[in-house]
């Protein structure tokens, strides 16, 4: 106890500095954890002390993060659409007029045995004419024709349905067959969609990179202001023996909390946007007779977003702290 009367000229007492230094690893670890906990709580309380300005910071970070994330979600949803379209992608093989039914069936069999073919459907010319007569309303004219002008049709489904290149390779191979008059690959628009998706992906990536840098700078500036506001405290802490890590810690936690809050805001903004789009999209899908709905971030994605926010906040705080703390030397 620090009571003078209890310490009558304590000559033999070891210097306190030495006593502190001799404390064990466990004690020092406990102290370290304690300060981490205290810094985390203190910086969170300081942020919550100014709800309006903190909310604004969170919102700014949230918007900057929500923008690339929602674009990425749009791309993901389009890619899902592409997959469902590719499922129906097939090659249409129009056979030569000279090929009769038996030869057509035989050819269908041969093609279906190829490794790169998933299946072949045979459409006979008679059936095609029948369907045409019913659906077109030109029955009289068709009946007036002496012979069936339509060719036999083989619908070939490639094994690799998602790759445009694979179906085009297959088309090239099949068009070489003598019995095949013409091969139609309806993949041009699919190819364009894939191209657009690739460009979109690059744009989203660039945007995400730029906006991440923006978030780091915004939070770095916020932390710089926090350092300015606490100059005297930092000086005093340094004078009474606070290490750089000790001085740095609360500011790193401040950055972390701003980043995490921004991530939460971003997840909420994204969910909000998705929810507002949900109605119109399902109406649109219904109009196309399609079973298709928007997929959002999900729990895991949202957690990742919050985590990413935290990382950006830490990075921003680290940049600010390493640039500005050195300038606050005790005077």
């Amino acid at each position: 106890m620090w009571v003078l009367t209890n310490v009558p000229r304590a000559k033999k007492r070891p210097p306190e500095g030495a006593r502190v230094a001799r404390r064990g690893v466990v004690t020092r670890y406990r102290a370290w954890v304690r300060h981490h906990r205290a810094s985390a709580a203190d910086s969170l309380l300081k942020i919550l002390d100014h709800p309006v300005s903190s909310m604004l910071t969170w919102l700014v970070v949230g918007i900057a993060m929500a923008l690339p994330v929602s674009l990425m979600l749009t791309l993901d949803n389009l890619r899902g659409l592409e997959g469902s379209v590719a499922d129906e992608a097939s090659l249409s093989l129009f056979l030569a007029e000279s090929v009769d039914t038996a030869a057509a069936r035989a050819l269908a069999q041969t093609i279906s045995e190829r490794d790169d073919v998933a299946g072949v459907r045979y459409h006979s010319r008679d059936k095609a004419l029948e369907e045409f007569r019913e659906q077109s309303g030109f029955a009289d004219i068709i009946d007036g024709l002496g012979s069936n002008p339509l060719p036999h049709l083989l619908l070939v489904t490639p094994r690799d349905r998602t790759s445009v290149a694979a179906s085009e390779d297959l088309a090239a191979a099949l068009s070489g067959l003598p019995a095949v008059a013409e091969v139609v690959v309806d993949s041009a628009w699919l190819r364009r969609l894939q191209g657009l998706l690739a460009v979109g992906e690059r744009i989203v990536l660039t945007l995400a990179l730029l906006l991440s840098m923006g978030v780091v700078l915004i939070l770095g500036n916020t932390i710089r202001l926090a350092i300015e506001n606490r100059r005297e405290e930092i000086r005093v802490v340094r004078l009474v023996g606070g290490s750089n890590a000790f001085v740095r810690r609360p500011f790193l936690y401040t950055g972390l909390w701003y980043g995490v809050g921004g991530g939460v805001a971003a997840a909420m903004l994204t969910a909000l946007g998705l929810w507002s789009l949900g109605g119109p999209v399902s109406a649109l899908a219904a109009a196309y007779d399609a079973e298709w709905s928007l997929s959002g971030l999900g729990i895991v994605g949202s957690c990742q977003l919050v985590l990413a926010g935290g990382v950006l906040g830490l990075v921003g705080a680290w940049v600010a702290v390493s640039r500005h703390l050195r300038a606050v030397e005790p005077a």
Partner: protein, 219 residues
Amino acid sequence: MISFERVSKRYDNGHDALREVSFDVNRDELVFLTGHSGAGKSTLLRLIMLMEQPTRGRVVVNGNDLSRIGRRGVPAHRRGIGVVFQNHRLLFDRPVFDNVALPLTIAGYDDREVGRRVRAALDKVGLLDHERAMPVTLSGGEQQRVGIARAVVGRPPVLLADEPTGNLDPALSAEIMQLFADFARVGLTVLIASHDLSLISRLRHRIVTLREGRLVGTH
């Protein structure tokens, strides 16, 4: 405990703040450092705190040659020194208790030990019933005593004070000086920079006088 050996300090602008200063302060001793403003008192204290490095000569504190302490060793060195400032330098956004607890928090003591030691230090300076008060509500003398409690709460072997009575009336000043004398009696090494000659010459302690960076007298 504190030893200066032919220490000189020249600042970048060419000003010689200290010239060939040599003196020792022993354990249990209270030494006053005096001289006009600009005589080098603050520079001398700054050298002990490792806020500056001497241009020439050697400073030894607590048995450590300060020139051997690297940047990383500075915080640990400062934890072994209690400092009292003229303008107190309290943190006005937190109560007295938290101000005094700061060195212990830095050193990593647990809450129980912090509470015990802070109350002991506040008791010593007579402010035990003010631990929840905010510093602005205290008088100048009380604020200075909080500063002193913060300086001694970590039980450092060395205590420095830079004009600790600069803003106080004579009666309060004498009281504060008596506190420092008490600390010297229980084993601290105390060095006080002060230009209040009328006060310190009445107290029977060694006085080291600086003039234009030179040591001109020690008695």
